[in-house]
Amino acid sequence: MDTAIPASTLAARTWPDGGPSRVPNWVYTDPAIFQREIERIFTANDWLYVCLESELPNPGDFKRAQLGNRDVIAVHGTDGTINVLVNRCAHRSMQVCMASRGSAKEFVCPYHQWTYDLSGNLLGLPFRRGYRGQGGMPDDFRPEAHGLQRLAVTTRHGVVFASFGAPNESLETYLGDRMLAYFDRVFDGRPLVVLGYMRQRIPSNWKLMFENIKDPYHASLLHVFLVTFGLFRLDQQSAVEMDDMGRHSVLVSRRGEQQSNDATNQMRSFRQNFSLRDKRLLDPVREFPGDATVVMQTVWPNLIVQQQSNTLAMRQIVPRDARSFDLAWTFFGYADDTPEMRQRRLRQANLMGPAGLVSLDDSEAMLLSQAGIDQDDDAACVVEMGGRDVVNEPHMVTETAIRGFYQHYRTVMGL
């Protein structure tokens, strides 16, 4: 699919003038950029979201996940800790695990039966000593040097993160105090229950997904459903906040009364005469401390934590190539939810996912964005709403969090 641009052209790429208020189209199309993103963002020292601990309740429980372009196995080890192993046999690189989830005592590669324990250590391999004195591995073969690649793992309040490198900061430091407080607002230590999964494959660059959740400007304009039902409005008391490096962010919104005013007059999207016949679809109940009704958090580089009214989900970004990514949704609630709250979460899920009355606007917008971007690598996107700098803002009329993202991105990518 990708029009091949040799990696050697990367050095010739020059970021347009305007700093983070300009984003060149080639960051969304160039396979060499994508390759560098895999190296420097997805398989470096950053903490990547893997899964929820409640998905692996018992020793031996495992599930596969995709981190960047790597397939990993998250497994509840015999010692009670979560291990994250790359699904690639140390022998011939075959995927050792075919099931997407299950329970295992060990992982046996189907090809030559190399066998690994739940920590990824190579336990043994057939004919290591040969057969009747013939063949076998060399005498100096050391099984301990041929385990499955094992990632650094950390958990917080039931959420599992892993890193391919050697992170020089804890998850808490990585998030920073401000972002950690928003994270802990949803993950307050209560046991979580997974309600189900959705997954969609979107023909656009993965960064457009992140930008979408860092862009409150569009929410009031594109999402007529949100606007019409007052779930997210430009004129509501709101905020855009980031960590000190601009890599993580939150959009915070508070629900207000729906009335026609100066702001709605600027929103062609406001529909005054539209009401639901079955009100149960939108029957939000306040369940978190404070007055925020929506908190959408992006955690660099692969996680969006969605709290839109009572629908909670982890959205995991799985980049596939420069022009394609998967968005993997894990919907959850709390173990102590009442049946009514559980039902409410199922109903409000109608707003989210590939058929979401809100989020389908986004997947379609990303498809159309990429189609526009593909026309001209040399053009650049303009990101000047709210200024050209990167600062936290007590309002929604800003693209500051996109600028924050690209400020950090350029540093990491050396662009």
Binding site: L195, Y197, Q200, F225, R277, L281, A349
Partner: protein
């Protein structure tokens, strides 16, 4: 054509009416007559589009989930009035429809479905396929769905599911 599970005896007229209901359902959606689509459901009903993966794990989250004819209508109005999406043609095929059982809560049927999608200036592609678990009731002389559950086989939806299955 409606197949009948082994051991079940069904009035040929009922069998024809069931076939008509399924045919009407497909034709309505193929013709884009979304506004009429809710009329094929009972006033209190369950409509779900759910990945097979969730069903196998006993997980309830569905990508579309409606509990009444009104909620179906709300989805249609929301789609027409509020959603942004690229134009497309969705064409559905339902086959292997089988009446499995007749219970006090209605007739239980299963079927297989495929939906093809055609985007502007693109070749037609298979969009989703899977199975249906349905319950049909006689609503004062008219057959209507009291329950329609579409279970799609892939975990992945290509981009977005715009029109209802």
């Amino acid at each position: 054509m409606i197949a009948i599970a082994h051991g079940l005896t069904v009035d040929p007229d009922l069998r024809a009416r069931l076939a008509d209901l399924y045919c009407a359902y497909d034709n309505l959606l193929n013709d884009g007559e979304l506004e009429l689509w809710p009329s094929l459901f009972a006033e209190t009903c369950i409509y779900k589009v759910i990945p097979r993966d969730n069903v196998e794990q006993g997980m309830p989250i569905a990508v579309m989930y409606c509990e009444s004819r009104d909620m179906l209508t709300d989805r249609v109005v929301a789609l027409r009035e509020t959603a942004l999406f690229a134009p497309r043609i969705a064409r559905r095929i339902t086959t292997a429809i089988c009446l499995r059982a007749i219970e006090p809560d209605g007739m239980h049927l299963t079927a297989s479905f495929a939906v093809f999608q055609t985007m502007p200036d693109q070749p037609s592609e298979l969009f989703l396929c899977g199975s249906c678990r349905d319950r049909v009731m006689d609503d004062a002389g008219t057959l209507r769905f009291a329950e329609r559950v579409f279970i799609y086989d892939s975990t992945i939806v290509p981009t977005s599911l715009v029109y209802p299955l």
